[in-house]
Symmetry: C2
Subunit: 263 residues, 2 copies
């Protein structure tokens, strides 16, 4: 196949495949929590992170040489197309070193309006959540399924995720807790997997702070393709990072936003 | 095969297989978070819970009719052998309704000294963690691997799990936070999967409170077979439930226990 014959989604799949192959040999290895690592000489997370980003950049060099790249490990590389691939090879390194299947490979494709194609891949469970102009689909242990967010309208019926109970600053924590106090259920510890669950219609809200652009661009594209909405805590675009509110629909988004905006 | 030719572990595998088949059709169904459920007419979690425990009891009726049963959904059934199968068909129902792969099927076999065989099964990821007199093994996406706990000796190097930040009562939360403040990393939201990660050598400690016997007996057997130790917060047997401290080894157990015991 020529590079022109491959869709952007095809390219993203090849990148996710390459990242999986680079990372999985380092997940749940016995060396991961050894003193060797703490002594600073050898860090399997960093090794896996870098190998995965290099593998994804190699796919782009071959198939999309004209596009720019922004990656967590190797920074920004300018392109000539006006499009940028935004990459986080392992989002959720604390989950990774703890062995939880909650970290993921994040791949987004953005233009001047923000991300319009995204992949959240969990290599260990074999789950891949894809969202873009013509797709909103997941594959995994149960086969292929459409991604479709929930219609939950009231906070009292909503399931809310964040990764750490402390969330961010004291002010950010207070904002989160205003929403959490009204939600049906609050759960923690899911890293980027929480955004995938919103896209898959299993949860209603994710609230996080202190994000980088590469942490949130893939979730934005996947959730929007599935019918949801992602903004910052003021209702503005979130694709440059910082504070994020991901919601299953406009109604539950508005309900959470009102509480986050309070002083 | 006659029933005598099947080992207890073989029987446990058949029970776990039966539970998987009963539960998976109800996981991540679109009806799970609908208003229908909230109206009280139809609860897929309860349906899956009951179907799985019935399926496991049917295996025991055929293969181990002389053993007793203690199950979360259908209570206690006396046996004549002095042995009891202790069953939690879905441990972590909040994780289940949120779509996280952190809930599990718990199967333990106990005698008058407590559980000596245990299975923690995660049907969606296809992971099964087994511990007993002659086994300490997991199977999953990466194939079959031995279970072996970590040798971490200092809290400053330890990874700690609990399911909810609030843990239990205010006193219990304070005990947990004394350990958490000294640990390298604290993570939340893993339900019974946290115990499996200790057995698999990925984490060092799990601290929980408010448990039932069927929540903790399988984790006890799996972790002990893998080289770890599980007690209550006073260092006594935990198999009747209540407060549990699961640890990768005796040294890290002692370090955490000292902090939990403080008034």
């Amino acid at each position: 196949m020529t590079q022109a014959a491959l869709s952007d989604l095809d390219v993203a799949h090849r990148m996710a495949d390459a990242a999986r192959a680079a990372i999985l040999p380092h997940f749940r290895t016995s060396s991961l929590n050894t003193e060797n690592k703490l002594a600073g000489g050898f860090d399997p997370v960093t090794v896996a992170d870098r190998a995965a980003e290099q593998a994804m950049r190699a796919v782009l060099a071959e198939l999309r040489p004209q596009d720019g790249i922004l990656g967590e490990e190797f920074g920004a590389e300018a392109g000539s197309s006006g499009r940028t691939w935004v990459l986080d090879p392992i989002d959720g390194t604390r989950g990774f070193i703890s062995g939880t299947p909650t970290w993921g490979v994040l791949i987004a494709l953005a233009d001047e309006n923000g991300p319009f194609l995204g992949v959240i891949d969990q290599p260990y469970t074999g789950e891949r959540f894809c969202g873009g102009p013509e797709t909103a689909t997941m594959t995994g242990p149960l086969g292929e399924r459409p991604l479709q967010t929930l219609g939950t309208a009231a906070l009292a019926d909503a399931i809310l995720f964040t990764t750490f109970p402390e969330v961010g600053t004291a002010e950010e924590r207070a904002g989160f807790e205003r929403v959490s106090a009204r939600a049906k259920l609050t759960r923690y510890g899911m890293d980027c997997y929480a955004y995938a669950l919103v896209a898959a219609g299993q949860a209603d809200l994710v609230i996080e702070a202190g994000l980088n652009a590469y942490d949130i661009q893939a979730p934005i594209a996947v959730i929007q393709a599935a019918g949801g909405i992602v903004t910052d805590w003021q209702g503005n675009p979130a694709h440059n990072g910082g504070r994020a509110l991901a919601a299953a629909n406009a109604e539950i988004h508005a309900a959470a936003l009102e509480l986050l905006r309070q002083p």
